[in-house]
């Protein structure tokens, strides 16, 4: 479990991958501290992941566009990621629904949901990374990378069955961890727009 120090001297503990009851109830007691805590912790989300300066700078428009303005995840859910050690940076690129690409330098072992949430990429993670919701669905762009990953287990495949826009190279972000082999990975967030069929539309009246 990681700890990071707030400007207020409060310690925020990042959430583990799964949500044991213990973690759950401790978060709940954090919540009662109400708005102030949430907003303060937002202050301290100094970007835990290194940004490639030639790709993203805080002043560039694309950087602004990748930001989530009302962050939905409780501060305690924003994973704290340790910066990668020099020489061991792994590159991961997210392509959002509007085809904006954002690349981050991350450390081995970070999972894609944590990376996305730590950097305000729009990925919901409704079950908090417990492999129980499919809202962290990502599509691996390059099949060669998909092949390099350990195969999804039954639990992951069961959830992928429910994912929107499932493809041959779909994975759950919360189940994929970065590693040396995955350096340079590019994933796409599926478009959430429903494919409306003409026949879907209410015509009976």
């Amino acid at each position: 479990m990681q700890a990071l120090r707030c400007s207020e001297g409060r310690i925020a503990v990042s959430r583990g991958a799964s949500s044991s009851f213990g973690t759950f109830s401790r978060q709940a007691s954090n919540w009662t501290a109400a708005t102030s805590q949430v907003s303060k912790q937002r202050t301290l989300r100094v970007f835990p992941v290194l940004r490639l300066s030639n790709i993203i700078t805080p002043n560039s428009q694309s950087w602004l566009q990748t930001r989530r303005q009302f962050s939905s995840t409780p501060a305690s859910r924003h994973a704290h990621l340790d910066p990668p050690r020099s020489g061991e940076e792994r590159r991961i690129t997210f392509i959002d629904k509007d085809s904006h690409r954002t690349t981050f330098l991350v450390a081995d072992g970070d999972n894609l949901l944590d990376i996305a949430q730590a950097n305000d990429i729009e990925m919901e993670g409704a079950c908090g990374g417990s492999c129980a919701c499919s809202t962290c669905h990502v599509i691996v762009e390059d099949e060669a990378y998909y092949e390099k990953m350990a195969e999804p287990d039954d639990d992951e495949n069961d959830m992928l069955d429910l994912a929107f826009g499932l493809t041959e190279t779909s994975r759950l972000g919360c189940q994929v961890k970065m590693s040396k082999e995955l350096d340079g990975l590019v994933v796409r967030l599926p478009s959430m727009t429903r494919n409306l069929q003409a026949s879907d539309f209410v015509t009976k009246y």
Binding site: T35, Q69, S71, K97, E124, C127, C133, S191, F201, Y205
Partner: protein, 567 residues
């Protein structure tokens, strides 16, 4: 004075093909107006946030000023869109995933929005609290997000107020710019067969509500001691939830948030066999693979092998979802029926015909056997291995013994009282609010000349979740659906479309929301609760649970919940 008919005049009818085109346009919001002003984002968060009052009230914001004149709304961290329409005051009816995810997305994308969320119960979260099985705590983690939504100064929770009963929709409408209906489905489908109401037959909805502490069903007293065989009718995930709760050793449920009362009844249960009966085949069953797999892994419960002929010889040719379910069902359990104290089975191609009682209690259920019509003209709809295949009844019957039965054939949404007063059409046939699939409430009529069905958005009215789509879909699909509804509200707002109380482009809403309505509700003897009240109840439930090693021990009646607040 609010007048629905005058409202209708303000927008022209849109013909069906145009509406369809609108409906198929991407729901996402154009980035052009989703941009934030760099200064407000890059400025010190400290100074930015300190200008946000912890609670907004109507006295701190004048309702209909353009947002640029409201400093703490323009400069807050949530800013995404810039409009000059003033405050977008939205009432959300229902605090389930649909309501909360819509609120979440709206606050994320629209700086003008201020939300009042109404909930009929003192406690929030809808089916996440009262539907999702107690042994699936990880599914309930979405509450983390809802919690943060509720912390926003632009959000108010109004619990214990039942819209349409404690407060009329026609009285609410003048004080809001938009109303979003996300009140879910509060009834269930019936079988309409003789004997359906004999003692010992329960709706799955009541049983699920009972073990999850839903106040409405605490008096249920399911008779689990009357015999050894339970029959569940319907093969959706709710049916499998019921089967799993009946078969899981009680000790494995003790540290979940299932009620103490339910644990006691389940520990006295004599049920040894659960048969889950469907009217079509395994390839058409509605449950998902995860739930079937879970039932294969409850030691020492055995699964009765299914008829192999219901599957094609090569299951690899099935579509992914059906293939993976087939693998699980054909593999079954290691434990064998006859050698295990408990078992479960899936019965296929049986449509319930009648239920019979013996000595005043359910004893058996008769089914009509069904068959797949032979393939006619190679029409795939008639092939048994097509997930969409339909069946027809045969003249054969079969009877199953049953000491208790659960009807699990789907939930049902109903219209709220007062819908007609504000012009909301309810499609009784589909059990949904009539909408354009994106979440705009639409009203239609037949065009006098072209005879085409034409639809018009009822300005300012929207829907999301099960009330919009019907009672199917997991939380992930409800979330996606809610996001689409939120995005169309923002789209309409930014595009300058008329909302509630707008006739000639003027914003006629008082924008006062709950502030204007509170007094009327109070005077009826209703006690509205705030988010802080819910947190008090929440803490008390957690404290009660702690001593028993549980996440929480829910209060099972509204009176108990309210009593905590008076302590």
């Amino acid at each position: 004075m609010y007048h629905p008919r005058r409202l209708q005049k303000s927008t022209p009818y849109i013909c069906a093909s145009c509406t369809r085109r609108l409906a198929s346009a991407p729901a996402r919001i154009s980035r052009n107006y989703a941009l934030i002003r760099p200064a407000s984002f890059l400025g010190s968060v400290q100074s930015r946030r300190s200008s946000i009052p912890p609670q907004l009230s109507s006295s701190t914001i004048s309702p209909n000023l353009p947002s640029s004149t409201i400093p703490h709304l323009t400069c807050n961290a949530y800013s995404t869109a810039t409009t000059s329409r003033g405050r977008l005051r939205v009432a959300i009816i229902g605090s389930g995933p649909a309501g909360f995810y819509t609120a979440h997305r709206l606050m994320n994308k629209n700086p003008d929005v201020v939300i009042d969320m109404y909930e009929q119960l003192p406690v929030p979260y809808g089916l996440v609290r009262f539907g999702v099985a107690p042994d699936h705590p990880e599914v309930k983690n979405c509450q983390d997000t809802f919690e943060e939504v509720a912390q926003s100064p632009r959000f108010s929770y109004i619990g214990n107020v039942r819209v349409g009963y404690d407060i009329e929709l026609s009285k609410m409408a003048p004080h809001y710019n938009a109303i979003l209906f996300s009140y879910g489905a509060s009834e269930d489908n019936k079988l309409d067969i003789p004997g359906e109401d004999v003692p010992g037959v329960y709706s799955a909805r009541s049983f699920v509500g009972w073990y999850n502490g839903l106040p409405q069903f605490q008096a249920l007293k399911p008779q689990l001691q009357a015999g050894e065989q339970a029959v569940v009718i319907g093969q959706g995930n709710v049916a499998l939830d019921v089967a799993r709760i009946l078969l899981t050793p009680v000790d494995s449920l003790r540290n979940t948030d299932i009620t103490e009362h339910a644990l006691q009844t389940l520990s006295e249960s004599k049920i040894r066999s659960v048969r889950v009966v469907g009217r079509r085949g395994p390839i058409q069953a509605a449950f998902t693979v995860k739930e079937a797999r879970e039932l294969m892994h409850i030691p020492p419960v055995a699964f009765e092998p299914i008829d192999r002929s219901l599957y094609p010889s090569d299951i690899k040719k099935l579509p992914r979802i059906q293939r993976r379910i087939a693998e699980v069902l054909l593999k079954g359990t290691e434990a064998a029926v006859g050698h295990s104290p408990k078992s479960w089975a899936l019965d296929f191609l049986k449509a319930p015909k009648s239920m019979h009682a013996d000595a005043g209690h359910l004893s058996s259920i008769t089914f009509t056997k069904q068959e797949f019509p032979l393939a006619i003209n190679q029409d795939l709809a008639y092939l048994p291995f097509n997930p969409m295949a339909i069946v027809r009844p045969t003249d054969q019957e079969t009877t199953l013994e049953a000491s208790v039965a659960f009807r699990s054939v789907g939930y049902k949404s109903t219209p709220l009282p007062g819908f007609s007063d504000i012009g909301v059409p309810f499609d009784k046939w589909k059990g949904i609010i009539q909408n354009d699939l994106e979440g705009r409430v639409v009203i239609g009529r037949t065009h006098p000349i072209s005879q085409e069905s034409v639809y018009r958005h009822v300005s300012g009215l929207y829907c999301a979740g099960w009330a919009k789509r019907g009672p199917t879909g997991v939380i992930a699909s409800t979330m996606h659906d809610a996001f689409v509804s939120a995005d169309v509200i923002t789209q309409d707002w930014v595009a300058g479309k008329p909302f509630l109380n707008q006739m000639a482009g003027e914003n006629g809403s008082t924008g006062l929301g709950w502030e204007a309505l509170k007094k009327g509700v109070d005077s009826r003897g209703v006690r509205p609760l705030s988010w802080a009240d819910w947190k008090t109840i929440d803490m008390a439930e957690r404290a009660r649970g702690k001593s028993k090693g549980k996440e929480r021990e829910k209060f099972a009646s509204v009176e108990q919940m309210l009593k905590v607040l008076d302590a």
